[in-house]
């Protein structure tokens, strides 16, 4: 009776059709919750932008050679990327694993954990790339001048978002309960978010904090976005891209490891 099932070809790792299947599920689901996702991803960074922009902006006219709106408008792109990648990855993964048991259904189909994690990451990274541009667009209404380099920003957001999405999935994979997320948010994400150079330049901080900041992928994101908008700096920025690629690849593998441990017993 089977027509579609009579395909004896071998199946491989990381197949496009498996990844597409998971992506289709995400896209169809997105149609039911895009309003709330877009709202939170847009409004949060905008509030940061306005609060810091007007708050500090009235005290400091320029920071590191930029007007404060320029500085924060580009800096909060990274914040938006972090918020729209790490948080949906943490909570979404946990909910789909624990409460909705969606992953049980997907893994019973010809999809492996590696493909599942990869597809979820690609989807979240793409959303983060788009939502990451929101603060920059908002800042344009407050005096950020358009430039061709801005067209690179979604791609920088995507690359950074890939790593942060994997980070979030990894956290969800290792977490025993959803309350464990509090530790990660307080002890990891908040310091990284403040030590990124979004709101103030790291050059004013003590040396140890500057060293830590330079290891922070979020800081690399901030610098790359600023340079893309105001002028790239060649090798230095290429090195930053390299760091984000390495960050993404490591997180990707660790996320797959964590989720395999969680989903396959």
């Amino acid at each position: 009776m089977s027509v579609t099932a009579a395909r004896p070809q071998r199946l491989h790792r990381l197949e496009r059709s498996a990844i597409t299947g998971v992506l289709v599920r995400e896209v169809v689901n997105f149609s039911s919750y895009w309003r709330s996702a877009t709202f939170s991803s847009t409004v949060e960074p905008t509030i940061y932008l306005l609060a810091f922009g007007f708050g500090f902006g009235s005290l400091v006219s320029s920071v590191a050679g930029y007007s404060y709106v320029e500085f924060v408008g580009t800096g909060t792109v990274a914040t938006a990327v972090l918020f729209s990648a790490a948080f949906p990855a943490m909570f979404g993964t946990f909910v789909k694993y624990q409460f909705q048991r969606t992953y049980d259904a997907i893994l019973a189909a010809p999809v492996d954990t590696e493909e599942l994690v990869t597809a979820e990451t690609l989807w979240i990274a793409t959303r983060a790339g788009v939502y990451g541009c929101v603060p920059m667009v908002v800042a344009m209404f407050f005096g950020l001048d358009p430039s061709w380099g801005m067209l690179l920003v979604p791609f920088i957001g995507w690359l950074s978002g890939f790593g942060w999405a994997c980070f979030g999935i990894m956290v969800a994979g290792f977490a025993k309960s959803i309350e464990n997320f509090n530790y990660i948010v307080s002890a990891v994400l908040t310091p990284l978010f403040l030590l990124a150079g979004s709101f103030f330049p790291l050059s004013e901080l003590p040396t140890w904090a500057q060293v830590l900041g330079n290891l922070n992928p979020l800081h690399q994101t901030v610098e790359l976005v600023r340079h893309a908008v105001f002028g790239l700096e060649g090798w230095e920025d290429l090195a930053r891209v390299g760091m984000l690629v390495v960050f993404g690849l490591i997180m990707w593998r660790v996320a797959i490891y964590a989720m395999t441990r969680k989903l396959i017993d």
Binding site: M1, S2, V3, T4, A5, R7, P8, R10, L11, S17, A18, T20, G21, V22, V24, R25, V28, N29, S32, Y33, Q100, R101, T102, D104, A105, I106, L107, A108, A109, P110, V111, D112, L263, I264, D265
Partner: protein, 289 residues
């Protein structure tokens, strides 16, 4: 010969710390038959990896070739994992993709599944607005969307009204008659007796007995069973007397069932045909640990 077996487990063991959920299970399910427990189900989709033993599904070795086996299998989980914010049709669309139905066949496959679930007029209804029976039918139709050669049903009728359960039985029977192999786990013994070609009774992760339902009944419980009712003290006496006469008994709550009483006279009670539940209780014990 091997290729004619849809499922083969040889000495499969799965431990969770101190607990051995599956303990040296052997299972051979020939193609096109309707025959379990949740861990066994997970072993068959490689969502659980056996600690020992060999597992083959549709001729593919697990876990290495599990993806190929999964491509030709459909799974109906015990716990509903439909996407509740999506409509009936959207749920099926997602699984048409996950099961890699080619673009040209996708629309027809979704239509067929909607009809099979008898949800034609509910295709645009969100799943969280469906009744329990409708959700279960959708869950089953979702597993059948790619016309799998093997279907794994994990307690498909648990918690359903008798009417809905009968609808599902009809569906399962129709599938079997089309040549699909079905592995079903159930706590409803009546269901196993009605639907299965082969039954495997599991107790504490081990196989307690396996065979055709009618053969198992005949072998362990005989043709007829005598059901003796009475107060608890009377039931205890009946048990003792039957034991002396060399007959096996089992408690049925309000009565004692004396098994294999064909041609035996001596007790007052209701005679009824022996059934698989008699065999199940006899083999797995009256007390559930």
């Amino acid at each position: 010969m091997d290729r004619e077996l849809a499922i083969r487990l040889r000495g499969a063991v799965k431990r969770y710390g101190e607990i051995t959920a599956v303990d040296g299970l052997n299972l051979s399910v020939p193609v096109g038959t309707c025959a379990g427990k949740s861990t066994t189900m997970r072993l068959l989709t490689a969502q659980s990896i056996a600690d020992e033993g060999e597992i083959e599904v549709l001729g593919f070795r697990l876990p290495e070739e599990s993806k190929m086996a999964r491509a030709q299998s459909g799974v109906v989980p015990q716990l509903d994992n439909l996407d509740v914010t999506l409509t009936v049709e959207q749920n099926l669309l997602v699984f048409a993709h996950l099961y890699r139905i080619p673009h040209a066949e996708r629309k027809a496959a979704i239509e067929r599944a909607i009809e099979m679930a008898r949800l034609v007029d509910r295709r645009d209804t969100r799943v969280d607005k469906l009744s329990g029976g409708m959700r279960r039918r959708l869950l089953i139709a979702r597993a059948l969307i790619h016309r799998p050669r093997l279907v794994l049903l994990d307690e498909p009728t648990v918690g359903l009204d008798p009417q809905v359960r009968q609808q599902l039985w009809a569906l399962i029977d129709a599938l079997r008659s089309e040549g699909t192999t079905i592995l079903m786990s159930t706590h409803y013994i009546e269901e196993a007796q009605r639907l299965a070609d082969t039954v495997l009774i599991m107790s504490h992760g081990k196989c307690a007995a396996t065979g055709a339902p009618s053969e198992l009944v005949l072998e362990h419980a005989g043709r007829e069973v005598l059901e003796v009712y009475g107060p608890p003290t009377r039931l205890a006496e009946v048990e003792a007397e039957a034991g002396e006469a060399g007959l096996r008994t089992r408690r049925t709550g309000t009565s004692v069932s004396i098994l294999n009483v064909d041609g035996f006279r001596g007790f007052e009670g209701e005679r009824r045909p022996a059934n698989l539940e008699d065999v199940f209780v006899l083999l797995t014990g009256e007390e559930i640990a």
